[in-house]
């Protein structure tokens, strides 16, 4: 059986997308950029990325009851070397709490390949877009706040990638 996909996005695909000046999906900006002579460019903080940030969220095995996977990579600007043991803080409006509430926040560390992966409750749309917030704020590198948006509120995973430059 073919599922008929008719939602807000498909309806607006023609006209609305022209009006939408913002970039809706910005999961992997660093990876999509062509390699330049001076190497991999650092990730810029996204607008609104730091909203409802709480300093010092604890490192956890899982935020709340889980069910949704937030993952990504952390690399060094220039040579793109993976950065191990980097603390990434994650928060979102989920089925278990609003963005600003403490139980919606958690942190995880990157593995030896610079990858991180943290299970958290299902993200739901807040302020008009289903999105997540991530922060690198440990000080060794320049602080970066990301705000990736899910392609659909029904998705159960999301990626975000950091390319860090020395502070």
């Amino acid at each position: 059986m073919t599922e008929v996909v008719f939602n807000r996005r498909s309806l607006l695909a023609a006209g609305g997308s022209v009006l939408a000046t913002g970039v809706l999906v910005s999961g992997v900006p660093g990876l999509l950029l062509p390699a330049r002579a001076d190497g991999l460019a650092p990730t810029e903080t996204m607008s609104g990325g730091a909203n409802n940030y709480r300093k010092g969220a604890a490192i956890v095995d899982r935020i709340g009851k889980g069910g949704f996977w937030m993952s990504g990579t952390v690399r060094r600007a220039g040579d793109g070397a993976p950065l191990a043991g980097q603390r990434i803080q994650i928060w979102a409006h989920t089925v278990e709490g609003q963005e600003h509430e403490p139980q919606s926040h958690g942190a995880t560390l990157t593995d030896k390949d610079g990858k991180f992966r943290l299970e958290m409750p299902q993200i739901i749309p807040i302020f008009g877009q289903p999105h997540c917030h991530l922060a690198y704020d440990s000080g060794e590198f320049k602080t970066v706040f990301l705000r990736p948006v899910m392609r659909s509120a029904k998705e159960t995973s999301l990626e975000a990638h950091f390319v860090l430059q020395p502070a």
Binding site: F6, N7, R8, L11, L12, G16, L19, A20, T21, G22, L24, M46, S47, G48, G49, A50, N51, N52, H93, T94, V95, Q98, E99, H100, I124, P125, I126, F127, G128, Q129, P130, R147, A153
Partner: protein, 208 residues
């Protein structure tokens, strides 16, 4: 035409359906389960505001028989005031729900593409409300008033419709799109019918 005319009954039913169905469907949204009461109130204030935007051109165009031109214009003024109030509740509720997101929107630095459309429409609504309340004191002539009000009305309609369509929230997609189409169609019709760009034409019921 009186209340008994089938055409009159139909247009009022159509208006009630156009505004009522999107509100009713939004009230069944599963997203409400994960929102606080203030956020829910703010969201519905926004949906109701869009419904009021639909009523405005219909009232001033005299399409809502059996209201007389005079009563239609009076209702247009009152609903304009209600629109200002609904937008104020919408913004205040969202501000309290998530202050940084609202501040980003109001300062045009929000990552969400729909925010600048909504904020621009908000300022246009406040401007029309303020000017309308001062219209007598300034002794604005109908022509001058229309010269000010028409561009702002277009900003309100376009801003509100784009804002609403781009949001992924509690509104159901098709009823939302239908309401937006009706708002644009009603605005276009009244502007064409009243030939608002003509210099000498006066609105129905206006003095010579």
């Amino acid at each position: 035409m009186g209340w008994r005319s089938p055409r009159v009954i139909l247009i009022w039913i159509a208006l009630a359906v156009a505004i009522g169905v999107p509100i009713a469907l939004a009230a069944t949204s599963e997203q409400l389960a994960w929102r606080g009461p203030l956020y829910i109130l703010a969201g519905f204030a926004g949906i109701i505001a869009l419904g009021l935007v639909l009523a405005q051109p219909l009232l001033i165009g005299g399409y809502l028989a059996p209201l007389s031109a005079y009563r239609g214009r009076r209702a247009h003024h009152w609903i304009g005031g209600a629109l200002v109030l609904a937008v104020a509740i919408h913004v205040a509720g969202l501000w309290i729900t998530s202050p940084p997101d609202m501040i980003d929107a109001l300062t045009y630095t929000s990552p969400t593409p729909f925010s600048p459309f909504g904020v621009t429409a908000m300022w246009a609504i406040f401007a029309v409300g303020l000017l309308a309340s001062l219209r007598r004191r300034f002794e604005l002539r109908p022509r001058t008033w229309r010269f000010i009000h028409m561009p702002l009305a277009i900003v309100i309609v376009v801003g509100s419709v784009v804002h609403c369509l781009l949001i992924e929230g509690t509104m159901e997609t098709i009823s939302k799109a239908a309401l937006c189409v009706l708002v644009v169609a009603a605005t276009a019709k009244v502007m064409i019918d009243l030939q608002v760009w003509r210099k000498r034409r006066t609105l129905r019921g206006e003095g010579p």
